[in-house]
Symmetry: C2
């Protein structure tokens, strides 16, 4: 008998039919003899509807009240799931985030989990009940107020509960079959990955793979939680995201997957003095504006002028803010110009086997060059290589790289539903 945490997103519980389908699945797991903890999101569009309501009564809704409002969403879905399970003859009890002991800091709208004290959940399990827990929400002890975790919150709730309860696995149900070697809507011959380390998953998620949120993967990695990403529409095995134990010999494919990302823009600060401290100055200004940057490249200095260019990428949504910050510091930085380009795409190849295999970069650059695709920037980590191309080239780049690294499946991927969230 195992202890299994199962997380169902808003699209899985969008209506009465979805709730009944999900509940049958939960009942099945329970009947197989497992202890089951379920984490649910709000039904379908509930959250968006509540946000619309808030904006219709207040131009800038107070964050504390916004959290109070939005947490009604999971309250509805969790109670309905508990009822539906009970009507299948399985005892079940629902718990709000605060009842389940999801203790957070007090940052409304984007709270961080600081502790999980799931005493009541454990008690319910001990009494033979399935415990249904509201995802996305928590409770701040100092203020006594309800909080929400922000984007990807329900995945994080599920992983945090799995860690606190020492669950055998945290199953994240979605409308795709698992994690793929590339987005199957872009690369038709992408195939499902059976196993991936949390380290690789982090790189994939951070570089455009949308099935799992980075926060949840980070939490799983830090706390040794095994995640199983799988479809709620069939019983196929999905993708296991695991944490190799120290010294464990793992069969590490050189390349696990290819990710694409169109959400970034590039800024080039042109003609800055090539002296120590210039880059530090620029990125201090950017950081002080609250902007997270991704890739950084500093060109070789043109010896004659003593000037250089510094390029970096950042979320498109932060573009304006960054330009304003740089503009405000023009005197201090003494640059010649700032060039902004939001027509870029980022391609990343990820694989833990890279560590011990030279030549991966060469193979990647050759594949792109053969396809006539220009590379504007390069950045690497131990297990990832990312390149910036034009946005128009990204899809083709993903396809040729997927083929070049031998990832192509012999059959086309089955895609259910929409975006995978």
């Amino acid at each position: 008998m195992s202890l299994i945490v199962q997380k169902f997103g808003g699209s899985s519980v969008a209506d009465a039919e979805g709730i009944k389908r999900v509940s049958a699945r939960i009942a099945e797991t329970r009947k197989a003899g497992h202890d089951v903890v379920v984490v649910v999101s709000a039904m379908g569009d509930t959250t968006d509807e509540l946000i619309d309501l808030a904006e219709s009564v207040s131009t800038v809704p107070a964050p504390r009240e916004m959290d109070m409002l939005l947490t009604a969403g999971e309250r509805i879905s969790m109670a309905l799931v508990a009822m539906a399970i009970r009507s299948l003859g399985i005892s079940a009890r629902s718990f709000t985030g605060s009842q389940a002991g999801m203790i957070t800091d007090e940052k409304h709208g984007a709270a961080r989990i600081v502790d999980v004290t799931p005493g009541r959940v454990r008690e319910a399990l001990d009494e033979g009940d399935v415990a249904i827990v509201a995802g996305f929400q928590g409770f701040n002890r100092a203020t006594g107020d309800i909080t929400t975790l922000g984007r990807g919150g329900s995945d994080t709730s599920a992983v945090a509960l799995a860690a606190a309860l020492n669950a055998d696995v945290c199953e994240i149900y979605t409308d795709v079959d698992g994690i793929f070697t590339a987005d199957p809507r872009v690369v038709k011959k992408a195939h499902k990955i059976n196993r991936v380390t949390s380290e690789e998953m982090l790189e994939l998620a951070a570089n455009g793979a949308k099935v799992l949120y980075i926060r949840a993967v980070e939490f799983a990695r830090r706390h040794g939680v095994t995640i199983h990403v799988r479809s709620s529409f069939n019983h196929n095995e999905g993708t296991i995201v695991y944490n190799p134990t120290e010294g464990q010999t793992v069969e590490e494919p050189i390349i696990t997957g290819v990710a694409g990302d169109l959400s970034e823009a590039k800024i080039v600060v042109v003609g800055v003095p090539d002296v120590p401290g210039t880059a530090a100055k620029i990125f201090t200004i950017i950081a002080n504006a609250g902007i997270n940057i991704d890739m950084i490249v500093q060109n070789v200095s043109a010896a004659a002028t003593g000037l250089t260019d510094i390029s970096f990428t950042l979320p498109k949504t932060e573009g304006k803010k960054a330009l304003a910050a740089l503009d405000g510091a023009k005197a201090e930085l003494s640059f010649a110009d700032v060039v902004y380009d939001d027509e870029i795409g980022k391609l990343s190849v990820v694989g833990a086997g890279m560590r011990t295999n030279a030549g991966v970069s060469a193979q990647l650059f050759t594949a792109l060059s053969d396809a006539g695709i220009n590379i504007e920037m390069i950045s690497t980590s131990e297990i990832r290589i990312s390149v910036i191309t034009s946005d128009a080239d990204l899809t083709r780049a993903m396809q040729v790289v997927h083929t070049a690294f031998g990832l192509d499946s012999t059959e086309e991927a089955q895609v259910h539903g929409g975006t995978g969230r």
Copy 2:
């Protein structure tokens, strides 16, 4: 400076417009220098929609989960009201029933308030905030579970908070101008009552007046809370429901109001032995079936047979259950027949002045007799006389009695909106 509790029902906060209108009213009270605690119900049809959802996933929804589900309703409205008030420049904070210290027993769906510990509400007031509290909901300490108070719950929440906070007045906002001498839709010349004792109000509410729930009035009476029933559509004074202090000389009109009720049915148990204990047996059987009865009349025994008839009234909704209970005890009771009649109406006249004024019954019976209206049963309390007529006669009976006791206004009542709830 006073401490005022204001309660707004679901129809007042049915949409964004309603929420903004109500919030402006609350802000106005706060700006006048008062401390304000607001109790809100769920928006418009939210509760019905949630019940529909529950019934679509489960034929008999678990009561604990039903309470978890329904309490999402006030959570939404209270957060929206708090946001709307804040956007008017008035600081405000919302509290769930459990945050506001509404401690109840554990009877899901119909919980009783056992204690109110509004520490956080008091703190919010001390810090200058308007406190918005979810009506209808509470919290059971023993189980740690969320409960709901059942019908009339939000009125009761408001009165209970007013009592615990020692508020100066509990304002119950509705869509009529206050309590009327009779339902203005039935008696066109009904007029608003300015002041009524809680004792009279109890009799009116218990006998068909629908503006205030009995539970809330009972609570107000027991804890000395003054209620002000008024319209949320204008600034007119409504009706004050007050508790005369011991020995206080009150100007008591002989008749305060006339109430009509079409929700009851009559059962006559025909031909039971006219011996001590027969009535006790019948009503023990009815009570054991969980049925509350209202009026009881035992006819004079026909001396020749030694048999008598016993009649009583009960809610129509309990009719079937009562007939089945009597049928099951036919041998024990040895009655000849049971007659069921659900085409009855109950007319009640209420007035604290009755205590010291003889002749009220005679005046009532004369008025009805002059109008050719037959009386089937009579029951009286110290400050009320009720009679059963046919349902077809009830409206006319209310009109002639209203006139006979000099209650008619010179102008027709203004009726806003619908049912007064």
